[in-house]
């Protein structure tokens, strides 16, 4: 955890005072709906389909057990007893009362938390690799850089009213577990031949209704220049990004309209004025931020554990869980563990107050009192001793968080959808549940292997459907809920050689009841055509193209034409 100093704390406290005053003026009729809207969104407060929704920031997904207990307490006191972890690594509450929100923010501030810039046309919560700081393939600890940027982006006076929301991701490892290519700005840490840290800077990626893969605006930006360079990008965007049409206001549209080369020239021209100015980072500041992070007090342990090996040999269920939900660690004798929030029948990412409290207890006992929220909506214990894995597994299983499905078909990323969200065209949670029920055979799931299935209830794409190997999108057809299927999306270079890509729609949409059948056909098509079980679904799509998958669902071109003729005749 980054621990606030007095100034960090004071700013968050002052934010609470500010929002309390704004809420008071709104309730007194001194602020219009429209004006208050812009202010409350900056504090994560939406007015939703049935009630307000409050999005609490979990900066880069890192959380202490003290904070989690506070979240549990708030959820119990101000809400209906459960929260939802989102794909932005935040926590959403769906039932708080508007007039109580300042009190919630005040309670959050006591544990160095807030809801600053979790919504609105602002610089949002920065996301990163949920294995930051512990990954074996680490280049830098991305948390440190996320905190540098969090401070820079918090209440930035010049960039507080951007044309549209702005999403930022940082990846600090060889594998890209932060999906940097589908963010407004994505950073990928690198080291040059002298060992100097820098960043490959991508700009203009994003999901939503106009999905785009970011382009590399700079191959290697030395770390000192990080803030001045981002400032140059943001200034060009703030001045020239479109404000006439909400659907064309993201930076990706500006990049597209200008062309990447022209955009780069403009940024460079702006940067020439800012480069080497006072905002140039200094080593002392990076060291200061690094030193304010709590660090686990690791024991010197052997790389293997005899008890663990014995348990793996004796207990197949434990071995299955270990295979999917336990991840390598840079320290010998330790592992990172995923608590799956994707149990069939539970909306993905949802956690009750009691569960939050129990998770906090477990994290205290097993993982140095900290945990992370992943953008796949699971929780991570980053620092577990190998010798403790078996007992942790038993305790996690008792809570229902040991579903051994990380990386598998049923580890579905899913937005809250039409059950909760006022933007949604269709429900998404029941679709996830129906798929999880269809694929409930664990052996079959493991045989299918690694696959990302993502569901969004509308084209705003909170469920990241464009970058699911299979993506499902809820669409509205004259008042009815239908679902479009995409295949071939990929969130980023998690495995080397397969970069980020956007899925392609395979054809006309389906009714909700048909979805499990369609997914099954796609999976059967994959299984029949893979070279070996090492070749993943996404690899097969890229090797043979989308057409065979289309045929498996809709029949071949002749059959499709005949079907269309039949439909026309019937109409």
């Amino acid at each position: 955890m980054y621990r606030y100093d007095e100034i960090d704390q004071k700013l968050v406290d002052e934010r609470v005072v500010q929002f309390r005053d704004q809420t008071k003026r709104f309730l007194a009729g001194k602020l219009s709906e429209d004006e208050f809207r812009a202010l409350r969104l900056r504090n994560g407060l939406y007015i939703q389909r049935y009630a307000p929704m409050l999005r609490i920031a979990i900066p880069y997904g890192l959380l202490s057990t003290k904070q989690l207990r506070k979240l549990a307490q708030i959820t119990g006191k101000y809400d209906r007893g459960y929260g939802h972890f989102s794909t932005r690594q935040n926590l959403q509450l769906n039932w708080p009362k508007l007039e109580r929100v300042p009190d919630i923010l005040a309670e959050l501030a006591t544990v160095q938390m807030h809801a600053i810039q979790t919504s609105g046309n602002s610089f949002r919560n920065i996301t990163t690799d949920h294995f930051a700081g512990v990954a074996q393939d680490e280049i830098v600890d991305s948390f440190v850089w996320c905190e540098v940027i969090r401070q820079w982006s918090t209440f930035h006076p010049e960039f507080s009213y951007l044309p549209r929301k702005f999403k930022f991701a940082v990846n600090g490892a060889k594998a890209d577990r932060a999906a940097v290519a589908v963010h407004d700005i994505g950073l990928h840490a690198l080291k040059d031949e002298k060992g100097e840290v820098g960043f490959r800077v991508l700009v203009g990626g994003g999901l939503g209704r106009t999905p785009a893969i970011g382009f590399v605006i700079r191959e290697f930006l030395p770390w000192r220049h990080l803030l001045t360079y981002i400032e140059a990008i943001l200034r060009v965007y703030n001045r020239y990004g479109r404000r006439d049409n909400i659907h064309k206001a993201r930076i990706k549209i500006l990049v597209k309209e200008r062309g990447p080369e022209k955009f780069r020239e403009e940024v460079d021209a702006e940067w020439a004025h800012l480069k080497d100015g006072p905002a140039t980072l200094i080593a002392e500041e990076i060291a200061r931020i690094e030193s304010r992070f709590t660090r686990p007090n690791y024991l010197k342990l052997p790389a293997t554990d005899v008890g663990l090996e014995a348990a793996l040999a004796a207990d197949r269920a434990f071995a299955n869980w270990h295979k999917r939900n336990v991840h390598p660690h840079k320290k010998p004798g330790y592992a990172a563990v995923t608590l799956s929030l994707k149990k069939t029948g539970v909306p993905p990412g949802d956690v009750t107050v009691e569960q939050m409290e129990k998770i906090a207890d477990l994290a205290d006992r097993y993982s140095f009192g900290e945990l992370r929220v992943s953008h796949e909506q699971n929780l991570i214990f980053a620092d577990v001793q190998l010798a403790d894995l078996h007992s942790l597994w038993q305790e996690v299983a008792a809570l229902g968080f040991a579903t051994p499905n990380v990386g598998l078909l049923t580890n579905i990323i899913c937005c809250p959808g039409g059950d909760f969200c006022s933007l949604a065209n269709a429900k998404s949670i029941p679709v996830a549940e129906a798929i999880q029920q269809r694929f409930d055979d664990l052996d079959y799931l493991h045989d299918i292997g690694e696959i990302d299935l993502n569901i969004s209830g509308c084209m705003n794409a909170c469920g990241h459907h464009h970058v699911g190997h299979i993506g499902i999108l809820g669409v509205d057809k004259s008042g009815e809920e239908w679902y479009q299927i995409e295949v071939g999306g990929n969130q980023g270079e998690v495995r080397s050689g397969r970069g980020a890509s956007l899925g392609k729609v395979i054809g006309p949409s389906f009714a909700r009841a048909e979805i499990p059948d369609v997914i099954e056909k796609l999976i059967e098509c994959y299984l029949a055509r893979r070279d070996s079980d090492a070749e993943r679904f996404i690899d097969v799509v890229h090797r043979i193209g989308v057409e065979p998958f289309k045929e498996s669902v809709y029949g071949n071109a002749d059959q499709r034409a005949a079907h269309r003729r039949g439909q026309l005749a019937a109409a």
Partner: protein, 174 residues
């Protein structure tokens, strides 16, 4: 009429803001008085307005889609430059203000006009505005408190040109 806050005080306003006519035609410049003219008028009639500018009674205003680049070397000729916020959520004016102060070294009055609201004064002042023509419905007395919303900022701003991380370091060394 809009209330003017200047340097954190409610003051009387001697300046008259000239706008384009309903058909987009440029306004006439009255012979006397302090006037703020649209950028387009300055650009169209610069030569004849130069002597008026020399008397210190000519200001210019930029719209959100315009920039200080258009004023080129003329910035220092004006005792007042205003920047329009067509809608409170339109943040372009913040960049324009910083550029005027930081890049063009403008030292005169920098005035926010248009949809200027209580809750934006803090950011506006940090970006270099020192005068604020509040929208008519705003409570000016109440709005004065907004300048102290935050006691510090992480970033490089016009009011705090040295970012917090350098000041923290300097404080730690003493």
């Amino acid at each position: 009429m809009a209330t003017l806050i200047k340097e954190r005080r409610i003051v009387a306003d001697s300046w008259q803001l000239l706008e384009r006519g309903s058909k987009g035609e440029l306004p006439e410049v009255p012979a006397r008085g302090d006037v703020i003219i649209p950028l387009a008028l300055w650009l169209a009639r610069r030569d004849e307005l130069l002597s008026r500018a020399g008397t210190g009674t000519l200001g210019v205003w930029l719209d959100a889609n315009e920039g200080p680049e258009a004023l080129d070397g003329d910035v220092q000729r004006f005792p007042l430059i205003a920047v329009n916020f067509p809608k409170f959520g339109d943040g372009r004016g913040y960049s324009i203000a910083r550029l005027l102060r930081e890049r063009y070294g403008y030292k005169g009055e920098l005035r926010a006009i248009g949809d200027v609201l209580h809750d934006h004064l803090y950011f506006m002042e940090q970006c270099g505005f020192d005068a604020f023509a509040l929208r008519e419905d705003q409570d000016a007395q109440e709005a004065l408190s907004a300048f102290d919303t935050f006691s510090d900022s992480y970033q490089t701003t016009v009011l705090r040109p040295v970012p917090l991380f350098r000041r923290r370091l300097a404080a730690g060394k003493t």
